[in-house]
Structures are given as C-alpha cells and as structure tokens.
C-alpha cells in the first residue's frame, strides 16, 4: 500500500514538473511578453523596459526559471500583475469558495448517481433503465454553458426563485448561510446534471454486472432477501469502479467549473482563471494551472486509496 502510494506520488510529481516547465517556457517565449498587456498596446519602449526590470522579466530566461522555482519552494507564487497583490493571498479566498462548491457538487452527484445506477442495474433492459439511459445520453451531450444559461432563464428570470449570480447577497448587512446556499443551488445543479449522466451510467453497468455473478445466485439460493443482497454485497462491490471514475473525472468537473463559475459569477478558482486569462495575468494563471494539476493528481491518488479500503486486493495490483 505504502509502496503503491510512493510510486504514484513520484510519477505524479514528475508529471507536474514537466507540465509546469512547459507552461513556464510557453509564457515567457511569447512575443511582447506580459508588459504589453499591462501597459497597453501604446506603451513606449522605455516604459516597457522599466516595467520588465521591475518585474524581473529582463533577466535571462533560465535565471527567471530558477528564481521562479526558488520562490515556489518558499511558497511564493509571485505578484498578480494587474491586481498588484501576492498571488498566494489572492488565491486563498477563491480556492475556499471553489472547494465548497465542488464538495457540495460531488456529494450531490455521487448520491444521485448511486440511486439512478441502482435502479438502472436492477431494471436492466426494462423501461425504467431505458428512460434513464436515454436521459444519460441526452445530458451527456449538453454543453455546460447551455445548461447554465437555461437554468438562469427558467429559475432566475421566468420564475424569480433563485439568484443568478454572485456568492451571496451583498446588500444584506451580514450574509446569512441561507443566502450562500441559495447562490449555490443553480451552479451545483448544472455540474450535477452534467456529471451524473456519465457517473450513473458506469455505476448502473457495474451493478448489472455484479448482479449476474455467482455470489448473488448463491445468496439468493440461501434465501437472503433481495434488498439485503443489493445493499449488503452488490453496492459495495459496484462502488469500486465508481470511486475510480470519480477520481478520474475530477479534472472534468473543474472544466465544467470554469464555465459554470463564469456564467454565475461565482468567485472561485475557475472564475479567477477566466478573468486572468482575459487580462493575461500570467502569475495567477500559472499558479492556478499548478493547483489544478496537483488537485488532479491528488484526486486520482485518493481514488486509489479509497479503493484499497473498499477492496484490499486492489492495493496489491
């Protein structure tokens, strides 16, 4: 188990290292560089040189690269060009918002996927499973921005039930938990609709496969009731692939997250990445890419660990 974790960690670290190196050089090899995006296209050569000197962008590339890693090792992610604040400090609040958003989304999606998958597995080939299968295919092809826009149109404009943007009602003297929760409903629904379509499909297939196995027949022959088999044995075994898929789908949840956060103006990492991309604020962009890379790797690792707990055989593979 420990050996598996260390191997996975080492290989993931190498992956992230290559990734960050590629990203760093791509940013610094672009013609013009960030100075023009800060000062505008009409900047004079002197003011560009001045700014480059202040930001350390006039140093040799390899030296900048070394300095950048040295700062990273000390936990410094640099300064945002445009907001003029340390990136680390800036990111923290956004990261917290994103974590709340994703945690709620993943929990809701997983619970819903398990429920739908159980129905689909048990009623395989009959109409309840067919209806669910059709919905899965339809929702799978729905683009996140379209779902989000339709939800806003229905539930914020036509039926003004839910807020369409922001994280809480800023006009309230002290934001209540209810206000935060209300602002989460539509973003979470969007992510859930998109995630559940593939998650429940995998889980449904796993349940169907497990139900056909010998131990289920044996248990039924012994006279164990169907619910006891389903929740006592099948559920646990079918959860394994679901956990793996959940770990693997983390980056795609983030992909949806960028779009969803930008539609709903939800101040999370995805929103910040979008705004920084539009204004070419590279220190923030690099930091966010780094964080997403690490989260992805951790997601996969976590999935492996949970699988090891669910089924001890998995950790020997």
């Amino acid at each position: 188990m420990i050996k598996m974790v260390t191997t996975r960690l080492a290989s993931s670290t190498l992956t992230i290292f290559i990734l960050v190196t590629m990203v760093f050089f791509m940013v610094h090899l672009t013609p013009g560089g960030p100075a023009y995006s800060i000062l505008g296209q009409k900047a004079t050569a002197a003011s560009v040189a001045n700014l480059n000197a202040r930001l350390g962008l006039d140093q040799p590339l390899l030296k900048q690269y070394g300095i950048w890693w040295w700062h990273l090792a000390q936990g410094q992610l640099g300064y945002s060009y445009l907001l003029n604040r340390p990136v680390g400090q800036l990111l923290w609040q956004y990261e917290l918002n994103t974590l709340v958003f994703y945690t709620v989304s993943i929990v809701v999606s997983t619970v819903l996927s398990i429920l739908l998958g159980l129905v689909q597995g048990v009623y395989f080939g009959r109409w309840p499973a067919k209806i669910i299968g059709g919905l899965q295919l339809g929702f799978y092809a729905l683009p996140a921005f379209f779902v989000a826009a339709m939800l806003v149109l229905w539930f914020s404009v036509d039926l003004p039930w839910l807020p369409a943007s922001g994280i809480t009602n800023l006009r309230l003297p002290s934001p209540t938990i209810a206000s935060y929760a209300a602002h989460l409903v539509l973003p979470v629904t969007t992510i859930t609709l998109l995630t559940v379509s593939s998650l429940s499909r995998y889980f449904g297939e796993a349940v169907h496969e497990e139900l056909a196995k010998d131990y289920v027949r044996t248990a039924r022959a012994k006279g164990v009731s169907f619910p006891a088999i389903l929740f006592g044995h099948v559920l646990r075994n079918a959860l394994r692939p679901l956990v793996t898929i959940l770990g693997l789908s983390f980056p795609y949840i983030f992909t949806g997250g960028v779009i969803v956060e930008s539609v709903f103006n939800y101040p999370g990492l995805g929103w910040l990445m979008w705004r920084s991309a539009l204004s070419q604020d590279y220190p923030i962009l690099i930091a966010i890419v780094l964080i997403i890379g690490i989260l992805t790797v951790l997601g996969n690792l976590l999935a492996d660990l949970v699988n090891g707990l669910l089924d001890p055989r998995a950790s020997y593979e």
């Binding site: 290989s11 993931s12 190498l14 992956t15 992230i16 290559i18 990734l19 590629m22 990203v23 791509m26 940013v27 672009t30 080939g125 067919k130 299968g133 059709g134 899965q136 295919l137 339809g138 799978y140 092809a141 729905l142 683009p143 996140a144 921005f145 379209f146 826009a149 339709m150 806003v152 149109l153 914020s156 404009v157 036509d158 369409a164 593939s198 499909r201 995998y202 898929i245 693997l248 789908s249 980056p251 795609y252 983030f254 992909t255 960028v258 779009i259 930008s262 539609v263 990445m273 979008w274 920084s276 991309a277 539009l278 070419q280 962009l285 890419v289 997403i292 890379g293 992805t296 790797v297």
Partner: protein
C-alpha cells in the same frame, strides 16, 4: 481526450430486423432500424453541416445589418428567429456563426487526428526508452483538462482562425495518441506483423499497410468523437471570450452575448445557439456509437 467518458448508446433498444421482410420498403425499414443510432447521428450531422455551409447561400440577409427600431424582438415573420439587442437578424447571425464555428472546428479536429495518430504510431514503434519518454510527456499534457490548457494558451496568442485551428489541433490529440500507441503495441506482436517484419518490411511500411488498416475502425470511431469535441471546445472558448473574436460571431459567443442581457428574458437568443452546439455533440456521439455497433462485432 477530455471527454472520453462516453455514454454507450442504447444498443439494447435497437430492434433486430426480421429475416422475413420481403418488400423492398420493409427491408429498407429493417436496414434503417438496425442502424437507428448511426442513421440518427448522420442525419443530425448532415443538418449541422447544412446550417454551417449551405444555408448562407440560401438566406441572403446581412448578419451585421442593424435595425434599431426592431431591437430585441421575439421571432416574427420579418425576423424568423427574432433580433438581438442591436436589432440584428438572429437567423443570419446563427448561420454566420455556424460557418465561423465549423470552419475552425473541422480542420482542428483533422489536425488533432493526424497528430494523434502519428504520435501514437511513432511512440508504439519506437525503442522502449523513447516510448517511455513520449508517454511521460503525454501524461503531462493529460494531467490537465484540455479546456484549462486551451484557456491558458488562448490568452497567450493573438486569436484568429489559423491560431485557433493550431491551438485546438495541437491540444486535443493526446487521448487518441495514447489509444493508438496501446493498439500499436497490442498489434505489433501478432503473426501477420511478425511475418511482414520477417520478410524485411520496414517500420513505416508495417505502420502504413498493416497497423493503420487493422486500426481503421477504432480510428474512424474516435475521429468522429473528436469532431464533436472540437465543436464543443471552440464553442466553450468562444463563450468565454477566448475563441472566435468579434466582430465575427460564433455559436459560443452568441450565447455569451445573450447571457449579458438575460434579465430581459431573450429565450430566442439562448435556445438556438445552445441547441446547435448540443446537436453537434449529439451527432458526433451518435454517429460514433452507431459505427461502434456496426464494427464492434468484427473485432
């Protein structure tokens, strides 16, 4: 590829055609119903391509002509799909946006396909240490969702059709490359490849004559998926303001500008572009699934 978690189609629902069908029409119906997924996919694909390429020749309205007196009108006889907040004809905008979307997304998908197949074949046929290196690089690219990498690089370059094609093409290939590489390794040890090598066939010859032919069904199916993914990725980028640049509109940017005035309830500006992107994804997905059903048994 980022969107590799495919939902298998409802293959169970496909009716098996009876062998008793005597009349040509009934036989044709049976042929269609056996291939319902594929046929539906191809029909929607044809529709999307028609909207993007043929329709501009049939509907001669300037998408950029402004009619201030008719700003933000719901669909009517004069404006079949309504008008936007500037009073521009939404149908003309949708058609122009469709062309702008497809003219980038299709070449980008082809580029990604070529790069992916080449990289995968090269990696699979190369010496073990080169293969390991190439796969490690691939892992680095795959560690991040492709939209994140796309957003990142879109902010670095000047955006126009060429740069968008290159960007989408060079970022969307890793999924296919991994598939081709694994398939290459699996096929390399088979007798017909060994026999060819025994007779002095070079690597390039083996790849071209044997491997590509054996892999053809897998390649076509995945290539189909890539077209849908490409349309989706470009629309998402355009939606975020990092794709097709104004004044040119695209399906993604039309949806984005409608979202700015969503409080005015402009449903006719949101539904059509969204449905068109949805239709493109669905078409690619159904066509790919349909092909998979046809060819799946042969392998």
């Amino acid at each position: 590829m980022a969107f590799s978690t495919r939902v298998p189609a409802m293959s169970e629902q496909i009716a098996t055609a009876g062998g008793m069908a005597a009349a040509p029409f009934a036989r044709w119906l049976g042929w269609i119903s056996q291939r319902s997924t594929l046929v539906t996919g191809l029909v929607i694909s044809g529709l999307i391509l028609f909207i993007g390429f043929a329709a501009p020749f049939l509907y001669h309205v300037d998408p950029y002509a402004i009619h201030p007196a008719h700003a933000l009108e719901a669909p009517s006889w004069a404006f079949p799909f309504g008008t936007d907040e500037l009073g521009r004809d939404e149908l003309a905008l949708l058609l122009s946006g469709g062309f702008a979307t497809l003219v980038v997304a299709l070449p980008a998908a082809i580029l990604a396909f070529v790069v992916g197949v080449t990289y995968g074949l090269a990696s699979g046929l190369a010496p073990a240490w080169v293969d390991r290196l190439m796969m490690r690089l691939l892992d680095a690219v795959l560690a991040l969702p492709s939209l994140i990498i796309l957003i990142f690089f879109a902010s670095l370059v000047t955006l126009n059709n060429t740069s968008l094609i290159l960007l989408l093409g060079f970022i969307s290939w890793p999924g296919l490359a991994r598939l081709v590489r694994n398939e290459t390794l699996a096929q390399r040890g088979r007798d017909f490849v060994l026999a060819a090598e025994q007779m002095g066939a070079g690597r390039v010859y083996v790849a071209r004559v044997h491997l590509l032919r054996v892999m053809a069904p897998v390649l076509v199916v995945n290539g189909t998926f890539m077209v849908g993914d490409s349309v989706f990725a470009l629309s998402a980028l355009s939606f975020l303001g990092l794709g097709v640049q104004p004044p040119q509109v695209s399906w993604g940017s039309l949806l984005e500008s409608a979202l700015d005035i969503i409080a005015l309830d402009p449903w006719w500006l949101i539904l059509p572009p969204g449905l068109l992107v949805f239709g493109s994804l669905l078409a690619a997905s159904l066509t790919g699934q349909g092909l998979l059903q046809r060819w799946g048994n042969n392998r």
